[in-house]
Symmetry: C2
Subunit: 191 residues, 2 copies
């Protein structure tokens, strides 16, 4: 039995508020209507699509979570983080990130994604990179999506070692080990 | 004995064409006029100041010299280069290069300066970074000028190792060893 459009839209709104990660497919099945109808409902109700909803939730969540820098300073988009444990970010390679001649991603963008993720991972007010060992395993092309996965490997009072592995699909394209200096207060002079 | 303004300006133009690196001081002494007069002469003749002239000469020179990338893709400003030997670049740290919170330069900008200088140094059509070891010795503040000095340390058929040391004044702020893959042809698949 179909319910009225008004009733469906009311329930749709409640359902998405309850679980922002529900897909249009799931909603279509639940309300026994087409995916196209769900899309039109969302448009009428000004509810953004799933990917936008995930991004909004992630940004709100991680803005409060990340301590070492404002989330806007992270290069790429954080999609998961547990401070002092591990983190994941996504970086989509666009025209401004590649060498003109061969459309290969410039190394400093892969480094920036990995390094800023290593900074974000630190559960302290100040995190600075002291040293790093980098391996560029495969050229990354324009249009590819780089997924960086950071893991804390060692930690003592003042230093944390973070390993970052970056993938395009299943392929390892970059690996970096970052030795991070951490502090609850601002740095003066040294490091 | 003073010469006429017309005559002085003609000679001034020839002198600068002959040696673009002559200073206003030197010119003032040579023509027995004040530095201010020289500046006014230059303005009337539309001859840019020394720093601009150096930059123009450098860009023209290095554009033809650098093989591995268009000079515009180098981060910082190359002021000297001998392919496969050594190179120097300058990078002025501005607001967009620092962490908001503490005004310390973000690591990926120091890396980008050094890495792009290492690429520019390679006397081949293709240069890609295979691996790198980085040391961030001192935080660099906003407004500071970073001078990166690159030197080729080892070279064989396909690889070149470049060491880059970056200074603010006399202080070493960054050191990187870059293992560069080189080729006369475009890369396919694996680096």
């Amino acid at each position: 039995m179909k319910i009225s459009k008004k009733e469906r839209q009311d329930k749709l709104q409640l359902t998405i508020a309850d679980n922002p990660f529900v897909t249009d497919d799931d909603l279509a099945k639940r309300f026994n209507v087409s995916v196209q109808t769900i899309r039109l409902d969302r448009m009428e109700l000004s509810i953004p699509e799933l990917r936008e909803r995930i991004k909004n939730v992630a940004e709100q969540t991680f803005e409060d979570e990340v301590r070492s820098l404002p989330i806007g300073e992270v290069i790429g988009e954080i999609i998961d983080i547990e401070l002092d444990e591990n983190a994941i970010s996504i970086f989509d390679v666009k025209e401004e990130h590649v060498f003109q001649r061969n459309q290969i991603t410039r190394g400093h963008h892969l480094f920036a994604q990995a390094n800023s993720l290593a900074v974000a991972l630190i559960d302290d007010e100040l995190a600075l990179t002291a040293s790093a060992q980098l391996h560029f395993n495969k050229p990354v092309q324009i249009g590819e999506r780089v997924i960086a996965k950071a893991k804390v490997r060692r930690k003592d009072d003042r230093r944390t070692t973070v390993e970052v592995r970056s993938y395009v699909g299943q392929m390892l394209v970059f690996r970096g080990e970052f030795d991070m200096y951490r502090s609850t207060t601002q740095v003066e002079g040294g490091i």
